[in-house]
Symmetry: C2
Subunit: 317 residues, 2 copies
DNA sequence: TTGTAGGCGTTATCAG
DNA sequence: CTGATAACGCCTACAA
């Protein structure tokens, strides 16, 4: 019996005589034969591996957020036997990734939370390599990405604060020059206006714990009558809560607090945080699917997929 | 000029005429030639990729701990061009990994915090595949691992509590049937005895936040005079602190608290936690080195490498 | 439906 | 020091 026939059986080609197929399969399982993937890769020109590129400095890593991404991506990749190669951005990540792609070690790339000026997206785009971003890029470039509906998230927070009776509402925003910071604020503002409270106080933070604390100090000093606040990330909320406690404000009685992300911080806060949650696993799975589609056929059209967030109600609001 | 010569230049073989070498290198950089790694892999029988296997349920993932491991491993792998393939344990992880190893897609495996009954270590050992564990296995099997000196960590906590004047000291332990839980307690106890306080109260937790809270409730109820406590993980400490606050105990004035891990929890606690820190990056880098050594030559002797922890003093003690 | 034969892009072995 | 030449293990026309 020839190697060709065995190859056909292994790859599930239908045009194989049933008897022969069974014989081959018996032989395979009795020998414990496994095809050598390097050899296959050489001829199929597929690495069956994709890279997940993460920002190394990030507050993102070291957060369930990241785990959830890996989990979501894996659910799609694992059944297909596609490897997930992890890379934290460093000085030469860009070249490294491009080289791996060209050397046939990688079939595509998922870029998670690239920083604003990251040249990698454009680089990959130009070399026509399969790539998916985890969020809308700051600059509008023709690239496939998956994102959460940030404005809807802000609106969710607004509705909850109003529904629970807050009459003087504020927000601590993220960096306004980044899409998430900008959009969460916009969504929150618009929703508050529609709910009849157009005068929303806002203080700008930068998504760090420290900035959350500072913003809350400022808020309390300048607007002592605020009774509800939407903080655009859990991490900032984590910084803000001790400030409230220090000033004797009880949460949620004196001040209702809604966060964003549903990160680990949300649970470890005292009290646990009511927060806007992104369906990260689903989003990650979708990123994987979009990437595989691009790998499957070049010239897959650019696409962006937006997921809806939900509000997780805990005790802070 | 022959492929063979080019191959020699690419692989830096010394026995090549300097003129020819330069010509080849010029040609390479002007063409932008990159060797196909699948083809190389086929003949060298190296995948230049290793797997990092993580427990999926874990509180470990979603913690800087995990990021630090990746970073440490990457510092060793990246310069060598070795890929880091991430796998979260699932139903079939074991078979998957073994298959990948045999198919030449993976050269070795780093197993992070495997659970007690995990068959994978033994499986890999039997098939003589390169493998390194991130901690001493519960059962004494002949396998290479890297660990922190857990008992020394417990002793560090003891010394600090005594040095700051605590006279009635307790500990909330981790699961005592697991090496870290057992060893941290033993190290703490022994050190306390040497410091003249042999009567250490201990309550057993199981490393979860909830168990930390419950243990602290019990501690306060049964031993109201305790003024210092070593909690065997930051996560448990995070659960315990609100309990102390609820009972009106100030930290550190009424109760000094020392944690273990220096996880994200340590920083987000109020007050920030004094805790025992493992040199995770160094340990991870060492795991990578040990693994590469095994990959380089089979029959590398089993080895265990132990790192010393340090105490990070913040405000809880 | 099956087998034959060529090729995928390297590295490694040997003569020269 | 260099250049043929033979693997490496698999897939895939193409022919039978």
């Amino acid at each position: 019996m020839s190697r060709a026939t065995v190859s056909r059986v292994v790859n599930g080609v239908t045009s194989v005589d049933e008897n022969i197929r069974q014989t081959v399969e018996r032989a395979i399982s009795s020998t414990g034969y496994l095809p050598n993937l390097a050899a296959r890769s050489l001829v199929t020109r597929r690495a069956d591996a994709i890279a997940l590129v993460l920002p190394s400095e990030s507050r993102i890593v070291g957060d369930p957020f990241f785990t959830r991404i890996v989990r979501g991506v894996s659910t799609v990749l694992r059944p297909l036997g596609v490897h997930l190669v992890l890379m934290m951005t460093g000085a030469d990540t860009g070249d490294q990734v491009v080289a791996d792609l060209r050397q046939g070690r990688l079939d595509g790339v998922i870029l998670v939370h690239t920083y604003q000026a990251d040249p990698l997206p454009t680089l990959l785009l130009q070399s026509r390599q399969p790539v998916v971003l985890s969020a809308r890029p700051a600059e509008p470039i023709p690239i496939t990405y998956v994102d959460v509906n940030q404005t809807a998230g802000g609106a969710l927070a607004a509705e909850h604060l109003v529904a629970r009776g807050c009459t003087r509402v504020a927000t601590i925003t993220g960096s306004l020059d980044r899409p998430p910071g900008h959009d969460r604020l916009a969504g929150f503002r618009d929703a508050m206006a529609e709910l009849g409270q157009p005068d929303v106080v806002s203080v700008e933070g930068n998504f760090t714990r420290e900035s959350g604390a500072a913003a809350m100090e400022q808020l309390i000093a300048e607007y002592p009558d605020v009774d509800g606040v939407f903080i655009a990330s859990d991490l900032m909320a984590e910084g803000a809560l001790p400030v409230l406690r220090k000033h004797g404000r009880r949460v949620p009685d004196d001040m209702a607090v809604v966060g964003f992300d549903d990160s680990s911080a949300a649970l470890s806060c005292d009290p646990p945080l009511t927060t806007v949650r992104q369906p990260v696993e689903d989003m990650a799975a979708e990123m994987a699917r979009q990437l595989l589609r691009q790998i499957d056929r070049v010239d897959t059209p650019i696409r962006s997929v937006i997921f809806e967030p939900i509000l997780v109600v805990r005790q802070s609001a």
